[in-house]
Symmetry: C2
Subunit: 539 residues, 2 copies
Amino acid sequence: MIDEDGRVAEDAPMRWNGWGDPAKEKDLPRAVRTLLPLLLGRIRRPGPAVLLPDVVVPASALTAEDLAAFGAVVGAEHVDVSLESRVRHAGGRSTPDLLRRRTAHQDAPDAIVRAGSHADVVACLTIAVERDLAVIPFGGGTSVVGALDPERGRHRGVVSLDLRRMSGLIALDEISGEATLAAGTTGPDAEALLGARGYELGHYPQSFRYATIGGFAAARSSGQNSAGYGRFETMVTGIRVATPTGELDLGRSPGSAAGPDLVRVFLGSEGIFGVITEVRVRVHPVPRERVFEAWTFRDFASGADGLRRVAQHGGGPTVIRLSDEAETAVSLAQVGKIGRLLAKGASVITVYEGDGIAERRARTAELLEQSGGTSSGQGAAEDWLEGRFDGPYLRDSLLDAGVFCETLETGTTWSNLQGLRDAVERALREGFAGEGAKSYIMCHVSHVYPTGGSLYFTVLAGLRSEPLEAWQRVKSAVNDAIIAAGGTISHHHAVGRDHAGWLEQEIGETGVRILRAIKRELDPTGILNPGAVIAEQDS
Amino acid sequence: MIDEDGRVAEDAPMRWNGWGDPAKEKDLPRAVRTLLPLLLGRIRRPGPAVLLPDVVVPASALTAEDLAAFGAVVGAEHVDVSLESRVRHAGGRSTPDLLRRRTAHQDAPDAIVRAGSHADVVACLTIAVERDLAVIPFGGGTSVVGALDPERGRHRGVVSLDLRRMSGLIALDEISGEATLAAGTTGPDAEALLGARGYELGHYPQSFRYATIGGFAAARSSGQNSAGYGRFETMVTGIRVATPTGELDLGRSPGSAAGPDLVRVFLGSEGIFGVITEVRVRVHPVPRERVFEAWTFRDFASGADGLRRVAQHGGGPTVIRLSDEAETAVSLAQVGKIGRLLAKGASVITVYEGDGIAERRARTAELLEQSGGTSSGQGAAEDWLEGRFDGPYLRDSLLDAGVFCETLETGTTWSNLQGLRDAVERALREGFAGEGAKSYIMCHVSHVYPTGGSLYFTVLAGLRSEPLEAWQRVKSAVNDAIIAAGGTISHHHAVGRDHAGWLEQEIGETGVRILRAIKRELDPTGILNPGAVIAEQDS
């Protein structure tokens, strides 16, 4: 958050064992509470979660000399071994992360070091190599794939390198429409700083309120406006990176044939090659107008056909997303509209921003109608916009009520979309059934390309005992199903540690060898985020 | 070329020591012939160039066993040590390449091996490693940066691995709008095969008539329709690659966060990591309509401002290009229109294809008018389209007349465009002056992005003696100037050997280390295209 002097406050409020601002916790809507037992059977409320001061973590493995060495670089006040900070930096925000935080004994990094500059990061990496400490780069803490697990690998200890002090708009080139942002700048801070100058980045993933620019880059994030402004990697025009063995400042020209695009080596590298400290991004003038329109389709398949037509034509909405029948019904339940005309079928939401809206909307309408869509006015689309960052709050309420809730995602070509969706749903349904649990599976398409789209699943399940272990078995079967059905192991959540075991099946042994070769070169002692993206090797 | 049975003939006609089809050679337009002495002073016609049968090349270093080993894989008829083939595979089509081919003694690869399949390529790489032979992957032979020099590095010999037998449309997914093409398919063959099914790739670099799909990928090519369909790398959705130590089949989803995008490691790798054997690309329906419009601006700066507005708005023309004052004047001279109203100022050409042309054209007109542009009808744009692949023919005629002619290119942000252009022009002018030659420098912008654009220079010079050596000195100074002024060492011609000495200044020592690490992993004995992209190391 930006204070009145234009400075960025150090910590946006984030519930330590759940999502977001504790003041914004949400009770489950009554209609959802009524639905749940019907869908999932009788659910037992879990026992009370542990309170933060009662959490037990291992003693910090760092010595006074270690702490002093980091303190000499970043200032002693920015080296933190407090219980609260260690617990807050102990992972991300996947459902397994949240379930682990409900328990008394938790793993945690040995210390938090808050770097204030690129030079700080370089110096901290040198110290970590010298002192044999693993380093987990930490931005908004919103990973849902285990990328922030306090994994020390073969090292003596593990430090969480918090980058949020490195926040701000470093440069704005208004002629080129290009902004340089410090990696620790959060989504809202970036938009506030740009907005004050009349510009917008336009990257709004669900993690927007907490996640950082560096995190978006490191994880190959994709935001809700991707139909209009592209995935985050398409917005990036340059990066600055600190590695344990050298620095990089990449991105001289928006188009280049100067060898392979090395920026892309770091986008999606999730901190295993280096720490991204600055990101140069394309920005656009703040859109002056915004128009909403919702559509209804007979079913998911016809809706997906409509999205395909729009994506292949180009020049359509800024946001376009399709909810399947199950998600459409629950969305309507959430806003108390279940049972209405719209409750049947699959809903599509479109949002238009910027110029030429009337013609883009008319063209999109024509294409959606060709696939059997019917306009259903703007209400549902406005509802979506209002609640678009609130999904994770709902998950907390579900977990509190004893309902297991998690999301996962993949992507593929248009011709393979339905086959992949079926395979994932089957793996989820059969997986939960194998655990003796009923499940309710929802799916949406929220990122579209000329040649394909994403699939995002939300699953609710009435797991009775050991939900963490049960989910790991189900998720493993789902990952197998994604690979077998030709999908990508992640469309925008990234690999982290949770998907690392499947990456080789996607990119092949030779692909993994490329990643290991780069890692060996830049991080020969393997201090950076051990076990993320590529599984640790024995040798 | 596709014959009537739909098969691809092995060799499109290409002048061995110049550009293109000998039947299409062009005399210099009379106006240009009149202009040249005014611009460059008195020019002496060079002596006659050597005839192909009189060229002397070193004896092939390959043994009968070497040839038999390759022959066992590809068939003896596809292993070629003839003088003609060796000379034809001895380099690309830069002006230095053409000047070298006018001399009696030339270097050449020791043999040409024509692979017929991915499996052939894998087997040939194994043989090359076993027999200590360097391999230069060869597509259309149109490199203008020395990427095809018959460089053997530390190896016993060098083989040109010709990929043009691997030609054809392997698969077309009409739902996803995705085609899989064999790497050796030429531009015209790809478009003919797709066009027969109602689709178009839409990639038209000046090398289109000869260059191959694999070459476009390996060199990060950009075509004349890039404003509409993007650079080639943005069209690529997947690739298949053979390396000396393993194979890759990459690209499961149009959007993915499954680690770094390894497709991008091979786009721009110019054959130093592996041989691209198949490319999956986005295609679109053949456009039904095409509209032309030319514009005139007071000067280059106001024209560039117009292009910037159009690129930043989006949804504009399929082709947009700006010629500076010098290029505008010569273009008009070529078509015999010099002295007309349009001869002053800088001309912009726009071409619109596909849907929504009326609205795209109206919006573009509004933006170009804001920068002071005046529509000048469609004639100049149609003229450009007609001659758009013929530039290299003109160069041959100039070289025959004793006029040195070469092109080079770079790119940068919009805010840096004018500074970079000035720096390159100054380096060219002063460089040629230092060689005692007058020069005439033309510049255009033909690839635009929201944050910047390309700069393409054509230079004519009245070099009296040793034009090759003189140009190497001038080009070296130009490369220094590009780096110093913040440009990329190449926007779409690639690195090859000619730019390899400058790459480290662009991507840094750490960037070069990344490339070397990947190369060491995939090609540990360094047989692939030695010295291209990254200069050879001593160790």
